[in-house]
């Protein structure tokens, strides 16, 4: 290890810690969100330093990109929607007041004791944990095993091999988690289905031109990454995320995307990845192999097919998260607004 490298890694780690601290302690939610997104970006650098470009891609795209968009979109809600208490209505700041975010860390004075307790126990845990981590043996891992079996797996990139072949079951479940989260968000929203509305203030001409131009490019990039996953960093997740962000961009620019699709297609899109996995798994069982086992000779093609389906589903679901949350509040908010106005007029 060269001192320069140590210095660089040390600096990155310090930055990570500081950003995390800031994200947790910032007085405003908005700042928290920004620090968190910055943390994600630095983290992506850290992944690269740790020779994990796949993870870096995933983190930057999903962990920071998608979640960042969702967080900031949520801030809009937390800032704008007033309490339903009608008395408080008049004291609310006028609409458009963006910078007044509810403070997140206002803490009643009675909570000193739990604070000390929590801090102390976390400190203790930290000591134990660091000791445990330092004690871990050097070396080990399954790199060798993964490499050895690479030939039989049908792909050349070990991470993809693990994701889709060795541990394909996890990936299947994970696509299931995405589907589940979508259902959960439906539950939380109390409404199934999407209601995209046109943005109240349309973006400028320039932006919509750019996004129109970018969308096909992004789809192309997604396809490229998918293909690349066979031999180099890339694959279903990264590609899916790019697809999803294409959708989010379109949506941000005010396009209605999901509403234009028939409901059945929406459902199919959400289910595609999960279903294709299941079909392959079942087929393998029927032909006397283990669940999710690929025949060696054709593993490459089959994996690509499954990956494509998974990518489409992932992209679609990620976009659906955003589309649902983003559109969720608007009709009702307007409705409320209309009702209030009506109420004001009567007396």
């Amino acid at each position: 290890m060269r001192p320069v490298e140590i210095g660089l890694d040390g600096l990155l780690c310090l930055l990570l810690l500081v950003l995390a601290w800031k994200a947790l302690r910032a007085p405003h939610l908005y700042q928290s969100a920004i620090y968190f997104i910055a943390l994600g970006l630095v983290m992506a650098l850290a992944w690269v330093r740790l020779a994990a470009p796949d993870v870096a891609l995933a983190e930057a795209a999903i962990g920071t990109g998608l979640l960042g968009v969702l967080l900031i979109d949520s801030l809009r809600v937390f800032a704008r929607d007033s309490k339903t208490d009608p008395d408080a209505e008049s004291e609310e700041p006028p609409p458009g007041e963006i910078n007044v975010y509810p403070a997140g860390s206002a803490r009643p004075s009675g909570r000193t004791l739990p604070m000390i307790l929590v801090t102390a126990s976390c400190g203790l845990l930290a000591i134990l944990l660091v000791e445990a981590i330092i004690e871990l043996p050097d070396g080990g891992g399954l790199t060798a095993a993964a490499q050895e079996n690479l030939e039989r797996s049908g792909v050349d990139h070990p991470v993809t091999a693990v994701l889709l072949n060795y541990r394909g079951y996890d990936t299947w479940l994970e696509v299931g988690v995405l589907l589940l989260a979508m259902l959960g968000i439906f539950c939380a929203g109390g409404r199934v289905g999407f209601a995209e509305t046109r943005q109240s203030n349309p973006p400028g001409h320039l932006l919509s031109w750019l996004i129109r131009a970018l969308a096909p490019l992004m789809i192309l990039a997604a396809a490229y990454l998918l293909w690349l996953g066979k031999l180099a960093p890339g694959g279903a997740f990264q590609s899916g995320v790019i697809l999803g962000s294409a959708g989010i961009l379109l949506r941000l620019a005010g396009f209605q995307v999901i509403s234009r699709l028939p409901p059945l297609a929406v459902k199919l899109g959400l289910l595609l990845g999960f279903g294709v996995f299941l079909i392959f798994g079942g087929a393998a069982l029927l032909t006397g192999r283990a669940f999710l086992e690929y025949p060696e000779a054709r593993a490459g093609e089959l994996i690509l097919l499954v990956e494509t389906a998974a990518a489409v589903s992932i992209g679609f679901t990620i976009f659906a998260f955003f589309a649902y949350l983003n559109s969720r509040d608007q009709p009702e908010a307007q409705e409320n607004h209309a009702r209030e106005e009506g109420g004001n007029q009567k007396p």
């Binding site: 290890m1 001192p3 490298e5 140590i6 890694d9 995390a20 994200a23 947790l24 302690r25 969100a33 968190f36 943390l39 983290m43 330093r49 020779a51 994990a52 796949d54 993870v55 995933a58 983190e59 962990g63 979640l67 967080l71 949520s74 809600v77 937390f78 929607d81 309490k83 509810p102 997140g104 860390s105 929590v118 976390c122 930290a126 944990l129 445990a132 981590i133 050097d138 070396g139 891992g141 399954l142 790199t143 993964a146 991470v159 693990v162 994701l163 060795y166 541990r167 996890d170 990936t171 994970e174 988690v177 995405l178 989260a181 968000i185 939380a188 997740f237 649902y324 949350l325 009702e332």
Partner: protein, 104 residues
């Protein structure tokens, strides 16, 4: 002394610290929004440990198994986070409640 430190160790220790910090944050932060952020950092810390463990061999290739697990983990964590956000938003809209303490 310094030369004996490996890259992965620096990151692994950072992961441990991050984990504890965000765990404390999860308990101490009041607002739903910050609690959600704390859970995300918690997840990131765990993933960091995984990946740094994969780098132990100081080879060109990092261990692919933890990488694959982390990619899976990130997706799972983001799904959970999105769900939590959706819930928090709904609660805020329905009741104006933004922490577990205040009862509107």
């Amino acid at each position: 002394m310094i030369a004996g430190i490996e890259t992965h160790q620096i990151y692994a220790v950072t992961a441990g610290l991050l984990f504890c910090m965000s765990l404390g944050g999860l308990f101490l932060c009041g607002h739903f929004f910050k609690k959600i952020i704390a859970t995300k950092i918690l997840g990131t810390a765990v993933f960091l440990l995984f990946i740094s463990l994969g780098k132990r061999n100081a080879m060109e290739f990092a261990d692919p198994v933890p990488q694959a697990m982390v990619i899976t983990g990130i997706v799972v964590a983001v799904s959970a986070g999105a769900f939590a956000l959706a819930l928090a938003r709904r609660i805020w809209r329905e009741t104006g409640q933004s922490t577990f303490e205040d009862k509107p």
